[in-house]
């Protein structure tokens, strides 16, 4: 028995290095993107009472109104021309605009894409398109990220727990009582620790070799190999098992086991030569065994796995960041998002929502529909929308749907020179909503086409060019806007844009839906969802796997139920069953005859009559023994005798037979029972 090597408690050096590496990589991944700064620069303000837009933008979600370090995208910067003075609705915006003016803008390819979309109506690329992450909204997004975070937490917890348990094992090994090498004390032997950890066994082997104890070193190295194979499920280590048993285990563990047999046999040969043969242990022997064992136990694998895990986490940290390096919050809550617009409409009593379903399903429950740039609309969909408008819907078209350029009665254009942002309402507009002041940046304008039989009405102009047109269709109307700026969050900060939006989208039907590039992206059927997700091969594989599983295990046909339990019946139950059979056969006389004979035989066995074998003598003896009247006993035994001799001679009823049986049983019981 060898002395357990002492080691200072604590994390082993190589594990400590891995931990540091993991931490650094995680830190690197985390710092790849700057985390959202605490709102130390938050502007303190009080939202103007009675202004719904101010109440909504007061929420911290809308960081562009509260964080003066917030960076605008390039396509959002033009709004700064309209922010000339601090506005209590969005107090941080002037400072943000000053930064933008100084050239501090968030860099983002997708932002440029969004700007391009605003200008051209091209589908905007979302950041999750770039990352390939699912574009989820609302609870789905929360659930998705919740699952990701939970998964990572579980993995980290498992890693930490594993490392801590190994650390405890180390401490236990270090504090374990050591036993003299040749101790024969059984209690001491019982206290001895059997090392099962491959790493520690290898370390122990090296320690032993360093001390010059090559025999112990070889034994530990070989033990490490066995424990590794046991961990792989290839062998079962037990004190009663020989090396030959382990080789046979490997032979039976196809496909990996047989391939490991030759190298393991080679190690066994070398170890046994020292342990049982005449060969003296030496450094050469030890090195030979150790160098064979190390590749077999694959000690580099955990390190590689740790590195791979760290790399994955680091990559995850990097890709979870926006490319601009500054976390602006979600796009929905950014200046160019629509989160505040929806909140405003909600606050106004409307049922506002983002639409994911296809537009050809728009029903009459929807009062107003806003087509934001990028919404996929084709001719059949437009016909459906046209019919919906005819029935009283209000359709708002912002930006030019490319597929409908020839269909619509307006054309989108851009002014060459910059134009003032101030929007001017036509008389009809003033008549409808009063003297609202509107403003939006940009150079886009509309050109009405001369379509026979149809007329459009210019309601808003910018620098004399039409900015918003209205076309009446049946009971409904279509509003065309030169761009989508008025339907963004930042627009609510400027002039009376918020009131205009609320008035524009308020209808009797209450439901307002905003569409974008994701509209219609939802699959209509489960089959379509599978096709889009390219899950068919996976499901097919799963199906094949299930079939193979059931073929292997056997499929259950019919209702599963436990087999009837087979238990032994008590003797009395057999007797009762037999009695019931007799009763069903109405064989009381037969039973009475059998029992009468049985009783007489038992009585004759138990009561010595001294050569007098008659029924009278037996009756006298029984009566004397039981101190009962002789007449009564003589009648009972006489009946029993007659019944045994000829059961059918007596004319008796069934109840008489049962009475006789009962009385004979009582007699037997009084004389010691049936035994």
């Amino acid at each position: 028995m060898r002395r357990a090597p002492r080691r200072r408690p604590g994390v082993p050096p190589h594990e400590f290095g891995l931990l540091v590496l993991l931490g650094l990589l995680l830190l690197g991944g985390g710092t790849g993107c700057r985390s959202a700064p605490p709102l130390s620069t938050k502007s303190t303000h009080t939202a103007p009472a009675g202004d719904p837009a101010a109440a909504i933008l007061d929420d911290d979600r809308y960081r562009f109104c509260h964080d003066e370090q917030y960076l605008l995208y390039a396509h959002e910067a033009p709004w700064c021309a309209l922010i000339t003075a601090p506005d209590p609705r969005c107090p941080a915006l002037p400072a943000i605009c000053r930064q933008a003016a100084a050239g501090h803008l968030a860099e983002s390819e997708e932002a440029e894409g969004a700007e391009r979309a605003l200008r051209t109506g091209e589908a905007a690329r979302k950041w999750w398109d770039v990352l390939g992450l699912p574009a989820l909204v609302g609870f789905g997004r929360v659930l998705f990220w919740g699952l990701i975070i939970a998964g990572v937490a579980v993995v980290l917890h498992a890693v930490v727990r594993h490392l801590r348990s190994r650390n405890k094992d180390d401490q236990a090994a270090a504090l374990a009582p050591t036993v003299a090498p040749e101790s024969a004390d059984p209690q001491a032997a019982a206290r001895r620790l059997v090392e099962t950890d491959v790493d520690r066994l290898l370390a122990r082997a090296q320690d032993a070799a360093a001390r010059g104890d090559y025999r112990a070193g070889m034994a530990d190295a070989y033990a490490a190999l066995l424990r590794h194979l046991e961990g792989e499920g290839l062998i079962r280590v037990h004190p009663s098992r020989t090396n030959g048993d382990y080789l046979r285990d490997l032979r039976d563990q196809a496909p990996r086991g047989p391939s490991l047999q030759p190298p393991v046999r080679s190690v066994i040969r070398e170890v046994e030569r020292v342990q049982f043969g005449s060969e003296e242990p030496s450094l050469v022997n030890f090195r030979s065994v150790f160098e064979q064992v190390v590749p077999l136990v694959g000690r580099s694998l955990p390190t590689l796995m740790t590195l791979a895990l760290a790399l994955l986490l680091a990559l995850g940290g990097v890709t979870a960041c926006r490319r601009g390096g500054f976390w602006r919050g979600t796009d929905r809550d950014s200046p160019s998002g629509t989160g505040a617009v929806l909140d405003l409409l909600h606050k106004s009593g409307l049922d506002a929502r983002e639409r994911l379903q296809a537009l050809d399903k728009v029903g009459d429950e929807t009062g107003a529909l806003v087509l934001l740039p990028g919404t996929p609309v084709d001719d059949p969909t437009w016909k459906h929308l046209d019919a919906w408008v005819e029935r009283g819907g209000r359709l708002v078209v912002t930006g030019a749907p490319p597929a409908l350029a020839k269909t619509l009665e307006v054309r989108w254009a851009n002014a060459v020179a910059s134009v003032p942002p101030r929007l001017t309402g036509a008389a009809a507009l003033a008549q409808r909503w009063g003297g609202l002041r509107l403003a939006a940046p940009g150079t886009a304008y509309l050109e009405p086409k001369a379509v026979k039989g149809e007329s459009v009405e210019v309601l808003i102009t910018r620098a004399g060019s039409p900015y918003a047109l209205r076309a009446i269709r049946g009971k409904g109307e279509i509003w065309y806007f030169a761009d989508a700026h008025l339907f963004s969050n930042i627009a609510l900060v400027v002039e009376d844009n918020a009131q205009f939006l609320t008035g524009l989208l308020s209808t009797q039907r209450f439901r307002v839906e905003l569409t974008d590039v994701l509209t219609g992206a939802a699959a209509r059927t489960p089959a379509e969802s599978i096709r889009r997700g390219r899950l068919a091969p996976l499901l097919l594989q799963l199906g094949v796997l299930l079939v193979l599983f059931f073929v292997h295990r056997g499929a259950a046909f019919g209702l599963l139920r436990d087999p009837p339990a087979r238990s032994r019946r008590r003797f009395i139950e057999h007797v009762q069953a037999l009695g019931q059979q007799y009763a069903r056969a109405r064989a009381a006389r037969h039973v009475a005859a059998l029992y009468a004979g049985y009783t007489l035989d038992r009585l004759r066995e138990r009561i010595p009559l001294g050569g007098r074998g008659g029924t009278i003598a037996l009756s006298e003896a029984v009566a004397t023994r039981l101190d009962r009247p002789l007449r009564e006993i003589a009648w009972l035994l006489g009946e029993a005798h007659a019944l045994r001799e000829d059961p059918h001679k007596l004319h008796r009823s069934e109840s008489d037979d049962l009475y006789l049986v009962r009385e004979l049983a009582r007699l037997l019981h009084q004389l010691g029972g049936t035994r």
Partner: protein, 322 residues
């Protein structure tokens, strides 16, 4: 002869016999080990499994004298050992040797003869000599008895007494061959093999009786570690304390286990015994040396099961697991 030469020759003998005896590798190995360890072997199995073929093939391959005694209920001891017969011409008794005077003796169906005849083998097996009318005559060396017996459940059998069973170094059980092995046997017969005519099958003589003796002497060079001795005594000692065993194995069993383990080690080219040698031979050495309690037998326990239990409890020396 060193261990390597021993191993080479052993494997050649084994391969040569295996040409005609298909699918009984373990029995063949145990038989050869018993021969090399200067012991006798008892083969148990139902008729038709190749017991006689094994011995005849061994006789031919080993180059030793071979005789066979078919044990029957009316076989007399003198039919085994020989007897003095009066020579009228010489006017004197002269000894006519029995079939026991050979090197390789096949005692076929040894348990069909009564105990008196069985015991005639006793002296020959133990002392390797025969005494008749006060004269002791040595048997030619090497002398090996390979006895076969039918399972004691068969009709018309006389169980061998414990004292005689203990003389056998090993007891091997011959079991029915697997289907592929049986098919191979049939194919051999289709190709002209005839068990009654081994000369035609081209069996080569690998050794001589002198070389067998050299091989037996070579085992003395096989080293046995102290841990192995502990392992052997542990196993044999446990047979005396097992709850299902009425009579445990004797020290002769320990010696037999030691000798056979050395032979097995040498057969694999090792000059040292490893625990696997002991474990591999424990059942063969011990199964006929233990007597089970009657109630254990009624419960269906067998010596092999009991020994297996013991092997699962005995701690192997130098194990990494303890």
């Amino acid at each position: 002869m060193n261990v390597q030469e021993f191993s080479m020759r052993f494997q050649r003998i084994r391969a040569e016999v295996a040409r005609v005896l298909v699918g009984q590798d373990e029995v063949l190995e145990h038989t050869l080990i018993a021969i090399m360890a200067r012991g006798h072997i008892l083969l148990e199995g139902v008729p038709g499994l190749g017991k006689t073929l094994l011995v005849r093939a061994l006789g031919q391959v080993l180059g030793c004298g071979f005789k066979r005694i078919q044990f029957t209920p009316d076989l007399m001891p003198s039919d085994v050992s020989g007897s003095n017969i009066f020579n009228q011409r010489a006017d004197a008794f002269e000894f006519r040797p029995g079939p026991v005077f050979t090197q390789l003796l096949l005692a076929d169906e040894v348990n069909r003869a009564p105990a008196k005849t069985q015991s005639a083998l006793l002296e020959a097996m133990q002392e390797r000599s025969v005494t008749s009318d006060g004269v002791t005559r040595p048997l030619p060396l090497p002398f090996v008895v390979i006895a076969t017996q039918n399972p004691i459940e068969s009709q018309g059998t006389y169980p061998l007494p414990e004292a005689q069973l203990d003389r056998f170094l090993l007891k091997a059980i011959i079991r029915h061959p697997s289907q592929p092995v049986e098919r191979q046997i049939l194919e051999n017969y289709l190709q002209g093999f005839d068990a009654a005519d081994l000369v035609r099958s081209g069996l080569e003589r690998i050794t001589s009786d002198r070389e067998i003796l050299e091989m037996q002497d070579a085992l003395a060079a096989v080293r046995v570690d102290a841990g192995i001795l502990d392992y052997i005594t542990d196993i044999v000692g446990r047979t005396r304390n097992h709850r299902a065993i009425y009579l445990g194995a004797s020290p002769r069993a320990s010696i037999a286990l030691l000798h056979t383990a050395r032979a097995r080690a040498a057969s694999e080219g090792r000059d040292y015994v490893v625990p696997d040698d002991v474990k591999a031979l424990a059942q063969g050495v011990l199964r006929h040396r233990v007597v089970l309690h009657p109630d254990a037998e009624i419960e269906g326990a067998t010596p092999d099961e009991c020994i297996d239990t013991i092997l699962r409890e005995a701690t192997v020396p130098e194990t990494a697991a303890a």
